[in-house]
């Protein structure tokens, strides 16, 4: 059976089509989810895409956490369903307290858009199993509020438990503490990442195809968990 991967569209989401395409490229079935849905349409996993949900009013991701679909997603995440939040999706995950910390305005106060080198530091989460530890990848980064912050105790805990999944290499583009580009929860099913793997799945449009491994990792995790058959 083909893996069903939901992609949520909030008013103001803009990378939902690319996320759906990335899922199709690796052989999954992308299932559109609407912010007002109170049903997850039997999906096996969910991607929260980038963009500016609800116009980023108040704080990025702050209003999205009250969307009817998020209530179901929080329950599903706590039940172990794989959830990937990219950029604005990462912000929604921290606002929803599925991941610790917060994303704040870039330290230089400018929006940034560049191809960003990262080092992968975790290959045990449900979204990173196909990477090698220490693998360097290049994927697009585009954000205004991508500075990852958390208190020292939380940062120490993330490091001690191997929950930093990727760090910025060469330069820190937004002032993120300890160069953190992405993290996972303790269980490894919920991952947030500020750069955009879904924009690096085809050489026609992306700088590399390095982003593919997030999505192939997911499909393997689902097979290993018995959620879908191989």
């Amino acid at each position: 059976m083909t893996a069903r991967v939901g992609v949520v569209t909030f008013p103001g989401s803009l990378d939902d089509k690319d996320a759906a395409r990335a899922i199709r490229v690796v052989g999954g079935l992308a299932v559109p989810l609407w912010h007002a849905d109170s049903d997850l349409h039997s999906v096996d996993a969910i991607v929260l895409p980038g963009g500016f949900s609800y116009g980023d009013y108040l704080r990025c991701g702050a209003i999205a956490k009250f969307a009817p679909v998020m209530e179901k997603i929080v329950d599903a995440a706590n039940g172990g369903m794989p959830i990937l939040g990219i950029c604005n999706g990462f912000q929604v995950l921290t606002e929803s307290q599925l991941l610790p910390g917060a994303l704040t305005r870039n330290d230089h106060l400018h929006f940034i858009c560049r191809d960003q080198k990262l080092r992968i530091e975790n290959n045990t989460s449900m979204w990173t199993g196909d990477f090698e530890i220490g693998q360097e990848i290049l994927i697009p980064l585009k954000n205004g509020e991508g500075g990852y912050v958390a208190d020292e105790k939380t940062l120490d805990q993330l490091e001690a438990e191997g929950r930093v999944i990727a760090r910025y290499l060469d330069l820190n583009p937004n002032g993120s503490r300890r160069d953190i580009a992405g993290i996972t929860n303790a269980r490894g099913n919920v991952v947030g990442i500020m750069p955009h793997p879904e924009h690096a799945v085809e050489t026609l449009t992306g700088p590399t195809t390095d982003g593919l491994a997030f999505f192939t990792s997911l499909l393997k995790s689902l097979v290993n968990d018995g959620a879908v058959s191989a």
């Binding site: 108040l58 704080r59 702050a62 209003i63 009250f66 921290t94 606002e95 610790p100 910390g101 917060a102 704040t104 912050v149 958390a150």
Partner: protein
């Protein structure tokens, strides 16, 4: 320098304990993010 946001809520009737609790909840869950922000509530009759 301190920079912040101010939200002015108009409440019908007296602000009793129940309404105060509701305002606290709104401030904590929506208007601020306690991970990066602090808030104080002032009530002006």
């Amino acid at each position: 320098v301190r920079q912040g946001k101010q939200f002015i809520l108009s409440i019908d009737g007296e602000v009793d304990a129940a309404k105060r609790a509701e305002i606290e909840k709104i401030a904590e869950t929506l208007l601020s993010n306690p991970v990066i922000e602090d808030f104080t509530i002032e009530i002006h009759p």
